[in-house]
């Protein structure tokens, strides 16, 4: 086991947020000044169903320590059914990641509405805490991609 030989672990966390609910929820967390760690970086997508599992694998390959995907609540998708597709795809992806030995806690799917600034912040705090407890992701990172 590799134990913290770095001075301080600074996780890289990618959050995919759908434009209609979760990104707006993140904006609301901002305008409500509800803090969460700066390790989280948000990528805006039109809908959670735009998130290709490949994007998540790419993030891990490039050294991300955690990836979270947020969409509208089931039944509230702006595109009616997009989040259902996303949910199924992520279930499959997560079972594959499980098989690869990537800890379950490194990925997460959350439904956050445009009105749930508090939830967005709470979820991000929890998720970052989880990533801290899991430590650096060493499973999938492709060292060739690392910039010196």
């Amino acid at each position: 086991m590799q134990v913290e030989n770095k001075k301080e672990f600074q996780p890289k966390i990618v959050a995919f947020c759908c434009n209609w609910c979760s990104y707006a929820g993140a904006d609301l967390a901002g305008s409500s000044r509800l803090a969460y760690p700066a390790d989280v970086k948000i990528i805006r997508v039109p809908c959670s169903c735009r998130v290709n599992p490949m994007f998540i694998l790419r993030a891990f390959q490039r050294g991300a320590d955690g990836v979270i995907m947020c969409g509208c609540h089931p039944g509230d998708c702006h595109y009616t059914t997009g989040n259902y597709y996303a949910r199924r795809r992520m279930t499959l992806l997560f079972s594959m990641l499980d098989y690869l030995g990537v800890e379950h806690g490194r990925t997460r799917v959350e439904w956050v509405s445009a009105a749930e600034g508090v939830k967005f912040s709470t979820v991000m705090n929890e998720f970052v805490e989880k990533i801290y407890s899991l430590g650096e992701n060493v499973r999938l990172e492709d060292l060739r991609c690392k910039e010196s």
Binding site: K12, V14, A38, R44, P46, A64, T81, G82, Y85
Partner: protein, 666 residues
């Protein structure tokens, strides 16, 4: 690292007063941005969204010949359009602008300047990485045909058509049966005011028929739909009426003289019979009969022709053929209504075996002066007046099994209270008992209405579903349990009325398929958003009116019909529709024709066509996906479903998102 050398990116960092500048070191962001490959310009300003700020963006675009712009500011949901507009004014394609959200996602939540600045830099890099891969996009335009189609001529369709027509647009109503009027024309009285249904409906029917902007196609069905929002092409089949509408005077002699009079009368729920040439009811619009060819002696045997002989106007035309009317529409409203479910799986209530067990809709006809009993309340088995009646609620509603429907039919509690009250009012010696599970009366003056049935009219309400209804000794034995008194109920009664669940008109599935409008497991049409877009189908240009969208009563239906009409008017008022250019696009060279994308598309925007492609010099015809950009809403579901990577989303392409991921994880 791939860098497009021809890109010249400008980065504009906004202070937002102190909103950003207080916790983000703007200077360091500028420095970091300037070092990024491709960035040829970086500047900051107090308020980038102000006219002066926009001026800076416009000038830089012109002076530095920028090909892409990144604005580090507030959320794109706030000012993306502002900066796109600025870019456009300076001659840059508006879709070459990206926003790094360093206010809501950075400065407002991260109070540590070090952390905030570092994150702002990373988000800026991600935006730069994305914009490097942006492509100029053109918002398209499509024309709007200023005519609407309403499918279904019940109260929902009539009201929608009237409202659209009053706003000055042409509307066509297509109605399957020989007359408009729908379910409401079959009702006797309406809750909660107990006014006569025909008295309030017929004037609306007349208005619709007389309206110069409304064309009514009765005895007609939609046969084919193509096109998309703004310009649907629709084929309507006008079934042969066998009666010339222009000649018929509506005298009714043909119906009287027709020798084939034993045909179950649909309008009276088949409780009595009609002739083979008939108008469904006296106030029918148009008041022109049709010949039911399946049951007409002339059509079956070639002999007869009585109706033709007695028609003084010479309107009967046995040679008439179906006719196809082709018409273009800007918008389509579905108002196909409902029917009651079949009760063949509920024989514990003896509906099939005993004529004195009836549905509520049958009771409406029995209570109606034009109904099978001329409005006299009597048993259909022996014509005797009942001394006691039992109403059973929730028959087939709220069921978890396949016999019934999972939903609450919503109207039954109220119409049962109405029936109970009307009977007690007109026949005070008839004892009325209602078996209920819950009495649900949300609605203005609804609970008061139900309470009046109990308090003023002495209707007995018993909580508990009935277990069995059996005919015995000429009466009906109702077996139930009173859940409040916890005692067995075994009562004899004369008539049992079943509050039968309603379901969408079975034809709606066919229509929804033609319209590519989505439909739920219960065959109700799905609305675009359950709360915020309740009268719009997710398919652009398709609107919903009445029970086809979900169970509702007349007031709600009329309200929804008006809402659907205003949405249609809002669409028809435009000459052109601007289309969102961030839509899916398939690369024909990669497409393997598997249809995976077509299956996940909620809008029916993807179709397949055989197209000649030039694959590196080899020309061949392949079956490839084609996206209709007018229908595509840009969700991106297809891009992930595509196994070959042919499908991509403009503005959110795979490469763009991967570039953002890479930039964040650098």
């Amino acid at each position: 690292m791939e860098v497009n050398q021809v890109q010249r990116i400008g980065v504009f960092v906004c202070h937002c007063g102190t909103n950003i500048a207080a916790t983000v070191d703007i200077k360091r962001v500028l420095e970091a941005a300037a070092k990024e490959p491709g960035v040829v310009h970086a500047e900051d300003y107090q308020y980038m969204c102000s006219e002066a700020g926009q001026q800076k963006v416009r000038e830089a675009i012109k002076e530095k010949q920028l090909t892409g712009v990144v604005v580090c500011s507030c959320s794109p949901r706030m000012h993306e359009n502002t900066f796109r507009g600025a870019a456009q004014k300076a001659g840059l394609n508006p879709y070459m602008v990206e926003i790094a959200n360093i206010r809501e996602h950075v400065s407002w939540i991260h109070k540590n300047i070090e952390e905030g600045t570092e994150k702002a830099i990373i988000l800026t890099r991600a935006a730069i990485a994305k914009v490097m891969l942006n492509a100029p996009l053109q918002a398209g335009q499509s024309k709007v045909v200023k005519r609407a189609l309403v499918i279904g001529g019940g109260i929902a369709g009539i009201q929608t058509a009237l409202d659209i027509a009053d706003a000055g647009y042409e509307v066509d109503i297509v109605e399957k049966t020989p007359s408009i009027g729908g379910r409401m024309s079959q009702l006797d009285k309406t809750f909660p005011t107990l006014d006569c249904s025909a008295c309030i409906l017929t004037p609306k029917m007349v208005d619709a028929a007389a309206h110069e902007k409304i064309t009514i196609y009765t005895y007609s069905e939609v046969e084919k739909v193509s096109g998309f929002v703004g310009d649907f092409q629709v084929d309507i089949r006008k079934k042969a009426r066998s009666v010339d509408m222009s000649k018929c005077t509506g005298c009714g002699v043909c119906q009287e003289k027709c020798p084939s009079k034993k045909i179950p009368n649909e309008f009276n729920r088949e409780l009595d019979n009609r002739a083979a040439i008939y108008t469904p009811f006296a106030q029918a619009i148009p008041n022109v009969p049709v010949i039911d060819r399946e049951n007409c002696i002339k059509f079956k045997t070639g002999k007869c022709g009585v109706c033709s002989k007695v028609c003084l106007a010479g309107a009967v035309d046995y040679e008439q053929q179906d006719e196809i009317v082709s018409q273009n529409y800007g918008a389509i409203v579905v108002a196909t209504g409902f029917d009651t479910i079949k009760l063949d799986k509920y024989e514990e209530y003896s509906y099939q075996s005993c004529p004195d067990v009836i549905t509520s809709l049958e009771l409406e006809r029995i209570m109606n002066a034009a109904g099978p009993t001329k409005g006299h309340l009597e048993r259909l088995s022996d014509g005797k007046a009942p001394k006691s009646m039992v109403f059973i609620q929730c028959v087939g509603s709220r069921c978890a099994d396949e016999r019934g429907k999972s939903y609450c039919s919503k109207i039954c509690c109220m119409y049962t209270a109405k029936h109970a009250m009307l009977i007690r009012d007109k026949y005070p010696d008839v004892d009325v008992t209602v078996f209920y599970i819950d009495v649900r009366t949300p609605g203005k003056n609804f609970d008061e209405f139900y309470r009046r049935a109990v308090e003023e009219y002495g209707v007995h309400y018993i909580k508990g579903q009935v277990g069995k209804v059996a005919e015995h000794n000429g009466r009906l034995l109702v077996q139930g349990a009173d859940l409040i008194d916890n005692r067995r109920i075994l009562m004899e009664t004369d008539m049992v009325v079943l509050a039968t669940a309603i379901e969408p008109n079975p034809d709606v599935r066919k229509i929804a398929t033609m319209l590519t409008a989505s439909i739920d497991t219960n065959n109700f049409l799905t609305e675009s958003h359950a709360k915020l877009r309740p009268v719009e189908s997710p398919t652009a240009g398709i609107f919903l009116s009445g029970v086809c969208q979900g169970p509702k009563d007349i007031p709600e239906t009329v309200a929804q019909a008006g809402a659907a009409a205003i949405k249609v008017v809002g669409l028809l008022a435009k000459d052109y529709l601007v289309t969102n250019p961030c839509v899916a696009k398939s690369d024909e060279l990669y497409c393997n024709g598997c249809s995976a994308c077509e299956k996940v598309c909620p809008y029916g925007a993807i179709s397949y066509e055989d197209r000649e492609v030039n694959d590196h010099g080899i020309r061949e015809v392949r079956r490839v996906a084609s996206v209709n950009s007018a229908l595509c809403q840009g969700c991106g579901a297809c891009t992930v479903a595509c196994p070959s990577g042919a499908m991509d989303l403009q503005g959110f392409s795979n490469r763009q998102i991967l570039a953002e991921v890479d930039a964040i994880c650098r």
